[in-house]
């Protein structure tokens, strides 16, 4: 079986993409739904700095050995760019880019902006928690759709 690189991306690479990538990598296996404490302690979660935009950062591997990554593109619609960059390098078989922007709700937008753009995490993080709770079921479904064999065990 060919192993691929699965890149979850969104605008900031800080919230929805981080959660989805870590669900996929089997690092959020708590029976509690959503496991807010585990999510808050994830590497990269609500920690993106300016220099992190455009960096494809590793989040682990899935049950099949595929490498999982997180990316913030500073753009709300980068699917076409990422896919065509891989195509131009003849690497479409090696990458799968997964957009988590459709799961970014109003709470995540406002909370993320307060926490990351304005450096006001005390104000932003309560909103981010609310946003992640609302987005979590959708992100789990997205990962399930994206996932490979073995992933279902992680999600059960």
């Amino acid at each position: 079986m060919n192993l691929i690189k699965i890149v979850y991306f969104d605008y900031g690479g800080s919230h929805s993409s981080v959660v989805a990538a870590h669900i996929h990598a089997g690092k959020l296996d708590s029976p509690q739904t959503p496991p807010i404490k585990e999510i808050i302690n994830l590497p990269y979660f609500d920690k993106t700095q300016k220099d992190d935009f455009g960096k494809i950062r590793p989040a682990g591997t899935d049950a099949d050995g595929n490498a999982i990554y997180v990316l913030g593109t500073k753009n709300s619609d980068s699917g076409g760019l990422l896919t065509s960059l891989a195509e131009a390098q003849d690497a479409t078989q090696e990458f799968r880019f997964v957009d988590t922007m459709p799961y970014v709700n109003m709470w995540l937008r406002i909370g993320g902006w307060l926490s990351r753009s304005l450096s006001l995490p005390l104000l932003g993080r309560p909103l981010i928690r609310t946003g992640i709770k609302a987005a979590y079921p959708g992100l789990k479904n997205l990962v399930r759709e994206t996932g490979k064999t073995g992933l279902m065990e992680v999600l059960e």
């Binding site: 455009g54 990316l71 753009n75 076409g80 760019l81 896919t83 960059l85 131009a88």
Partner: protein, 156 residues
Amino acid sequence: MNLLFAARTGVFEALTLGLGYLNQEDQLETSSVFGNMETEKAGELIYLGKSGDDDIYCVGNKHLDIVVRINEEINTLLGQTDSPSLKVIPVSVPGNESLYPLSRLAMLPLVGSFFTARAKSSTLKIKDQLVSAGKNFRAVNPAPAQAAAKPLPDPR
């Protein structure tokens, strides 16, 4: 090595410069891509043609530094940092700050076509500058096929 000319607008600035690189600048105004806002919105790489064995593309993106970095990251993950298969050439056009906002306005429904015409007109005003930048880039970085086309030394 494939080349990607990236500017803040793809179907105006980057397209013009890329066609200049390919010596096809006379095709700008008849190109189906010139001022095509659906193509711009998609954000995908636009294939312009071949230069020797190399594929030439252009793209529009507000954050050129991010496009460069994502491409570098993909190269790194593919293990081709020393000989990347795609190089991004960021293009900035000093003194032409109105083109980007015009291109955004051109995406509006109903009134978009008015701003598309303005953006096209604005591009044609700096066409010579963009085309010569493309030609200069080619002169400094000749395609391998061009170098191979030099006359061979007389064996006698």
